[in-house]
Symmetry: D2
Subunit: 390 residues, 4 copies
């Protein structure tokens, strides 16, 4: 019998639903060295948190995260709140001796991210593990892409091009939700979508971004105020307020291994729902991925005979593919929430094995440095801006 | 609070794993009128069933299905065993007053299927519900396709063409597992894969198959005996035995609404893992689907202006799409196991509402008649064979 | 300087336009051992044939094909008329000592096809070449597919599945043009589209069809008479007449090398314009093709490591690909008419080299035997019908 | 009978072959108001030009373009040489009273381009027409995309993203051909590939680029000298020389109608042969195109009901599509060279009608200004650089 691993989760809406499912389900399909227990969920609204606990299967509920992080019967704190509360919760949880997993991006500001990384590094000496939840690394197709790069199948990396295309705010009547205000969200498409691109580009290539030139734009500068303050959707009222984040973030980059990159994150690409696309070109081959077909990896082997060379559509459902021996027979797909299950699997292994999970808070901080450089360049007429802390 | 619905499941391997996940998860994402309880799992091996109970989350375990079906604390029997035991278990469960959900195809023989349908019809008078688990009807893209047909978007249906392409026995050294022997599996590609095609073709068109002409073939007629008798994979030994089922089943058909059909089920289509493809052409439009891209529906509206007409790739992830309001934001995919969750959702609603779930055992029997006609035609030089019981 | 090869073409509409372009253009891109000269075009309407001669670049025009075939200054007769006149013209041309290339299918009846094959075989002794114009063999992607099969990349062939999907008569008001009447067209979808499928299935696999079971259907049995008798399009009048050919032809087949086949030809597949699709599965790999993406071949190598295996999209535009060294740099597509240019290239080489071009009239006759067996089976309740003359 | 239009072409290799085919063929498929005559071809090598004349069908040959442009029996000069000779030839031809069509980009330097535009504007007063050969505007799918934008189907344009991906110099042993040296080619991927992207982005959106930030990179800085000086391919020798152009050009841009753009041109994208991709997102819809599937346009109509919305694959082969009434029935593809035929068609119409063909030399000059701004920004650490002359 595995020893239990008692989880306390802060926040229970979109991300919380996904994380709760992962904690509930990981041990049903993977052999885990510790058995996750959904010990407590935390949220400010007493009614809301009780309903979420019942729905998601948590044993207890709290309305104050400070109480949660101090509870003796909790081993792991899982932070699923918006970015402006990450630092405070994570640092307190680490101080209380918990392992911590935190949603991305690590924080809304560089200062917060630095403090979190310092706290994590300190806690690491006591055997506490911390991890930032860039779940896309756990898409089997992207894990396979990384394996192909590591195995040298792509040779020397020349290019990375990545786009994250959504369209949920094309309508100018879409209300001014918290994600469209700088004070709550930090940035717009950049932090929400671009952060994934930056983490993946570095993860896949094994190279770090050293400098950027960026162009930001806000197509709709004023929107109706939302009737409720936190919803992603809903109809706006008659009053209007200013949009204070970027609708789209475009940037070029150089990486420390000699590659160059082209990046674009936007919420104004009509017809694209969640098209997170990334392609890496090397001297020996290419991989390409689109999250809207997340069970597929496109791969070109540049050493093939010209007669039969071509991009392969690898259906990443074979038992030899990353994470896939736990699931269904070949040709049977998995979905979005599986990325969180894989994340939980890896985090639990790291805790049990005493190894460092990736990406660490330090990795998350490095992404934050890139985000800051992008924002600075965009605010300064696309001036080339080196990435600090690299 | 919803009243509990206590489930007893027979069989716990591939299908059992999927069903258990569905019973565990449906209420976490859907509002269910009854709350599923994983009351008991049943299997012949004491060790095996205990391990499965722990892994899948069942409260208790049984080694004799006859004991299970008589237990007072069970409301639903879920049959996940091979086809040769379906009839006996289902009939006993119905006699014991249980609701029954049974894996497809309904049975291995027509006689068994008839007896099951009779028993279900009888039990229906006492308010018991029964359902055959053609889970592909619950793929959102296929449910959407059916809705488009019902809404008249395809007009008069002319064609249905359906292929189920797999490749797991292309290697002649693949062992003689139970699925390749008539005594256990009834038939080969026909019952395993063709049954899905028949059910879906009739579900999507709303028409029933009235006659068929079939061609069966076994490419590899002798295979090494497996070291263990039930595995899908594994290395064969030196002894060999005859393959007594079809490796491939091809048939043409007429339907009672005037459509014609072309069908092909095979385990020898190298490179295809689970390519269940179905297309329906009508006077006003076409829908097409491939299970290897199960979150997509291809749709052509024949009334569109030629200038901008073309097959649309509908990413079936919008909240307005069938079942999808329970899941993630647009553009986030679901996987294979979700079809079982949707099946559980619909079955629980039918039980709570006192309505008949589809497909019923009578529907399953009708598919069985088609399967029998296909097998008879194939055994008789492709002679045109009307479908009885239509 | 190459010796001239003087061509006389009968018929100048759709097929004639394509053939004329091929004769005009082949020598501009390929090194030909004889230089095609567009000597004469022939048609019944004096005005029509003169206009065609000017437009297409023919030196002279004739209104009587009997005069044309007797002209001393003609080396090759190219027959682009409907099927009911093929036999008479071809036999006369062969008797007059000409090389002959004839559009597909070879004839409308078996008797005519037999007579043509006999005449061609006789003329062959005098060094005359004859060829039936199954131009799809000259699609580079399909020629490459054949090469892969010949090279053993597919291993033992198990399956061929082929569909020819069009939609130009879905509208029941589309008029009763000559292609919809048995007396002029012989058959409907079968001879027009199915003939291509049969030739290609045999060409790609290197196997011959030995028997078939077929189902034919006519969805719209009566249509308005066309205002003009020969157009493919145009509005019908108020008078109506019976459709006497098949709208759709479905058949299953066995081939002499052990493969089995599933075939479907239809003009009622809404949304498909010219979707000639063919796939061949072998023990070592698969090839698949769709004419609507005619520059691509899909190829799966079954010997690849599972980790990186997948269907490759081969863009068939490399100089090493069949015919492609004459055209543009890699990645630049060719179109429909190029298949005729390649046909002319091969025919001119055969004439100059004194070798037999493929497919010969004898090959065309064999396809005719298959067509006849399909029609016979369809007329006889799908009864299994062996192919004569194989 | 149409009056002849006598053409003299300078340069006869890759581009010359394509142009010659277009002049020969346009009148065979389109009704032209003037009948093109292949009057003379010009090249420096007497043997080469004579062979080209015979192969391509020119009536006469010249070895000095100065003689050609002065000939009285020539109406049109068609310039197919490398960029460093464009200005001199075009200006002389205009001075000699000829209509001029010139390959892209207009010139290697801004000064040359300005002089050419001035000369063209002057000659325009005498009724002479001039045109820069951005042939991709004449791809039917892209002409259709432009039509959809003009018809308001895309609404307000927000984004254009364009990539031109090739891989022909990934191998570091590929020799230092003229396209890799600044003195002959002006720039690398930028002028060769990026020029197309710039022209198309502006053509499709109807907006002009006002400023850019660019990043250039040369992955292989030294290559073997080629054995012959002009070939695109061939093996290099032992001596090596410096690559003096960009291997890849990335840039972001703002357009004068409020759109923003992301651009990338590279010769280092392994596996991509000629992937010229462009997508435009507007408030009401999106169009996307890939030259490797040049007969298709992807279109999303953002006003569609969510239930059936999705990207349509428009097969641009209907007679209502731009240029396609001259070609084959729906579903039959055209190829690369057809873009030149369409260009000739439009140019001949403009000459006959006395209208201005697009893109004019002035349009070509405006593209040159953008190219210059990109090069300047790349040379200056990605500094934002406004486009002059807009």
């Amino acid at each position: 019998m595995s020893a239990p691993l008692r989880v306390g989760m802060v926040g229970y809406s979109f991300m919380g639903t996904a994380h709760a499912h992962a904690w509930r389900t990981a041990g049903r399909f993977f052999d885990l060295p510790r058995a996750p227990v959904l010990a407590a969920v935390c949220g400010r609204s007493p009614d809301g948190v009780l309903a979420a606990a019942a729905r998601q299967g948590w044993i207890s509920a709290e309305t104050d995260w400070r109480v949660l992080v101090e509870r003796d019967d909790i081993d792991v704190i899982d932070i699923c709140t918006p970015g402006d509360s990450h630092a405070e919760i994570a640092i307190a949880a680490l101080a209380a001796g918990k392992h911590v997993i935190c949603e991305k991006p690590l924080a809304n500001t560089l200062d917060e991210a630095v403090a979190m990384a310092v706290a994590a590094e300190q806690a690491r000496k006591s055997g506490q593990r911390s991890m930032v939840a860039f779940n896309y690394r756990r898409v089997p197709a992207l894990a396979l892409a990384r394996r192909l790069v590591e195995d040298g199948r792509l040779g020397t990396i020349h290019h990375v091009r990545a786009q994250y295309l959504q369209d949920w705010i094309v309508d100018p009547q879409f209300p001014l939700v918290w994600r469209l205000r700088a004070e709550t969200a930090g940035s717009g498409a950049l932090g929400d979508l671009g952060a994934h691109l930056i983490d993946l580009a570095q993860f896949l290539t094994g190279q770090r971004i050293t400098g950027v030139s960026a162009l930001h734009h806000t197509f709709v500068t004023e929107r109706p105020l939302p009737r409720s303050s936190h919803g992603l959707s809903g109809t706006g009222g008659v009053e209007r307020g200013p949009v204070t984040v970027d609708d789209a973030s475009l940037f070029t980059a150089r990486l420390d291994g000699g590659a160059i990159g082209a990046f674009e994150a936007t919420r104004f690409a009509a017809g694209h729902k969640n098209a997170m696309r990334i392609e890496v070109n090397g001297s020996a081959g290419t991989v390409a991925f689109d999250f809207e077909s997340m069970n597929e990896l496109s791969f070109h082997d540049h050493s093939e005979d010209l007669d039969s060379a071509g991009f392969r559509r690898i259906l990443v459902t074979e038992p030899t593919h990353p994470y896939m021996d736990a699931w269904w027979p070949p040709g049977h797909l998995i979905g979005y929430e599986h990325t969180f299950i894989h994340e939980v699997r890896d985090f639990v292994h790291a805790i049990a094995d005493g190894t460092d999970p990736a990406p660490s808070f330090t990795d998350g901080l490095q992404v934050q440095h890139v985000l800051a450089a992008v924002a600075a360049s965009a605010a300064n007429h696309s001036t080339w801006t080196p990435t600090e802390g690299r």
